[in-house]
Symmetry: C2
Subunit: 420 residues, 2 copies
């Protein structure tokens, strides 16, 4: 994911959780080492970074399908979420972490309730997480204030948690669910505590139109008026933007998390990624919550990401494979303020490495490694996952979690939740 590109028959050395060598030939293998891992027939790549999800929603995967966003939220999701206990969130997050490890994601940006439980699941799994406690005011100022103060506590308690593998962000839900006053306070706190902000932006047509009717300005304009937009903001979706909105996002160095699968599944439309990229906006990728996707597989998301843009612009040259892979790795790291640490295989960076097994019929023959990864590979082709130099999965066996126990507990918890 840097200028050097793809290295054939290379080797990598890891020392104290960081990449100590990466290059052609067996140079790394000549270093005196404690442990060696052969990777013939495999491709080593940076761990994938999922920049927008709500992992505990694994529990709700499939509970209400093929419905409008409105019906889905009001009739099923919100009533169920109201019954969610912190332990449920832990169980759902653990299932999500397991699924992410098994599909090659090493870092994810999450926004949900009881996010402290997600942090604990991240710690247990060994993954890296940029976590935000969700803030929804929904017209209730007292509620908004309480959620903000809980978020401040979350940031204080969990930023740099789990040996620095957890970073905390603020997670104001959206412009339509948080007032400009509350968003201003969030911005001030985020800058003061030096953490980022994760927000939904310009997703649903209905909400965007409602905001414009009420305020006479777009969501982006409202945020810019209160000085909210800065390089530490990850804005998910960004489907309904004017040219002026795009220019503003570019000028403020806001990061856009593109969620092609959920956008298509909910019939929300597609962001104009080429235009945003032409304005110089950093684009990263997200799966969105597993209840509206219904997986956390970033390989699948890369393919959807590239294909939806080719479709939108009626041009197969748009968003080539290598660009999609950048969005899922180095661009994601940049969006989360982690690009000095992760997002590419470079000396000095954390060893967040994934090995993909290419000895598969659908990955044969190998003419173009980028096209194979983006258009042919699936999460299930990931053989080995390393985060911070620690092996989380090898030969598809997860080492940090008891797979069977995590799945059984999740099944039981989901059924219990539905029966409450």
């Amino acid at each position: 994911m840097n200028e050097r590109g793809f290295i054939k028959q290379g080797s990598i050395a890891v020392r104290e959780g960081k990449i100590a060598y990466v290059g052609k030939g067996t140079a790394a293998a000549d270093i005196r080492v404690e442990a060696k891992m052969e990777a013939e027939g495999k491709v080593a790549m940076p761990g994938l970074i999922n920049c927008h999800t709500h992992v505990p929603m694994t529990l709700l995967r499939g509970v209400a399908e093929d419905q409008t966003l409105d019906t889905w939220l009001k009739k099923t999701i919100w009533p169920l979420e109201a019954k969610l206990k912190p332990e449920d969130v832990y169980v759902g997050a653990l299932l999500g972490c397991l699924e992410m490890i098994k599909s090659g994601t090493t870092c994810f940006a999450d926004m949900y309730f009881h996010e402290d439980m997600v942090a604990r699941a991240v710690e247990k799994s060994g993954l890296r997480g940029a976590l935000a406690e969700g803030i929804i005011e929904a017209g209730n100022k007292v509620l908004g204030e309480r959620m903000l103060s809980e978020s401040v506590n979350f940031v204080r308690d969990f930023n740099e948690y789990a040996d620095g593998k957890v970073t905390a962000l603020f997670g104001p839900h959206a412009v339509y669910s948080c007032s400009p006053e509350l968003l201003t306070k969030v911005r001030v706190k985020a800058s003061e505590l030096k953490v980022g902000v994760h927000i939904h932006l310009a997703e649903s047509k209905k909400m965007v139109e409602q905001i414009e009717r009420e305020h006479g300005s777009s969501e982006v304009e409202i945020l810019d008026e209160i000085d909210f937009l800065k390089p530490d903001v990850v804005a998910a979706h960004c489907i309904r933007l004017s040219r002026e909105d795009m220019q503003t996002l570019s000028k403020r160095h806001v990061n856009v998390a593109y969620n092609p699968v959920a956008n298509m599944k909910l019939g929300s439309g597609a962001p104009r990624i080429k235009s945003l990229a032409d304005y110089g906006v950093n684009i990263c990728l997200g799966t969105d919550g597993p209840a509206s996707n219904n997986t956390l597989d970033m390989f699948e998301t890369m393919k959807f990401a590239a294909l939806l843009q080719k479709f939108t612009y009626s041009d197969p040259k748009i968003l080539p494979a290598q660009e999609a892979l950048k969005m899922a790795t180095i661009n994601g790291a940049k969006a989360l303020g982690l690009d000095k640490k992760v997002g590419s295989l470079e000396v000095g960076k954390k060893a967040d490495i994934v090995l993909v097994d290419f000895s598969k019929p659908h990955l044969t023959p190998l003419h173009d490694v980028y096209a194979s990864i983006v258009y042919s590979a699936h999460g299930s082709d990931v053989d080995t996952v390393i985060v911070d130099g620690r092996i989380l999965m090898e030969n598809r066996q997860v080492k940090t979690l008891d797979e069977q126990a995590v799945m059984e507990k999740a099944e039981e918890t989901a059924l219990n939740l539905l029966s409450r």
Copy 2:
């Protein structure tokens, strides 16, 4: 895939290649049997039916990516195809068959050159195939006649080949590449020999416009004028149709093969599946060739199929999961004239059965089996594949092909082809 729907904790018995029992409980297990297969935690479903592909193109997977259809065909694909030898086609088809078995496809409709070699690969693999030798006239009447007579030979030699697992079709490439005169002859021959016809229809904007300029009629109108359109026709793509064209396809009971992944990847646009279905047209699914997809994974195609329609109509209710699964099974069987034989798990039908292993994080919890299959499962979740009562794969081990040998030979052949 019939009115009975999903059976929890059921059992299936197979006798002489056919389903002898399917129902609740262990009734089938009480039948005196030669061999039993436990399937706890697995879902048995009809094998998937891929209604439009060019399998030998596995060899060209990834050779020329992110290009316009025109450049892709003229600069890379056609020059390489001109160098293809029959043995190459066999090697590519074998790799495709291996990939299909590993991802739960039990039957496919193919159109390519040297299709006799595809028939031999189908026989070797144990799959079911509806195969067509491609006919491209391209302004050369002598060539057209020769290809037609080769096709007649192919149909005579290979219809009902491999214990009836191969059925032969005619494969006139498209209206823009075959004259009405030749298409008329194909139609007469197909009716005489009682086999179906597989054709590309209304795919690329450029070709559709060119035809309309030259003939003053649409592709559908041209075909209807020569009485080409009948219930034995599988028309791939059908993106650019007028309301009248749709009505004609409905009136003539033509089957439409929808190829969402290739349509998106090539930026061709999307067929209006809801409108076609509202007119009563039978819709089935295809992957298209692996060089423009880049897999043969019908699970992936089902997800793309549903999501692209939700996106196209801006409505998440469109094309629900169960409907996508019908398209990939019983509708596909109907399109190929095989619905009396396969496409659903019913007593008397051929035992073309796939077991999907649901003990996976991304398939947990199980709230909705149709949503899980279409939105969460991948080809790699298929554990066992049975065709005609014969086990082609069990515990992901393919029994009819040497996986390693097939992949190595394909890699070698592809490199050799590129160096010619």
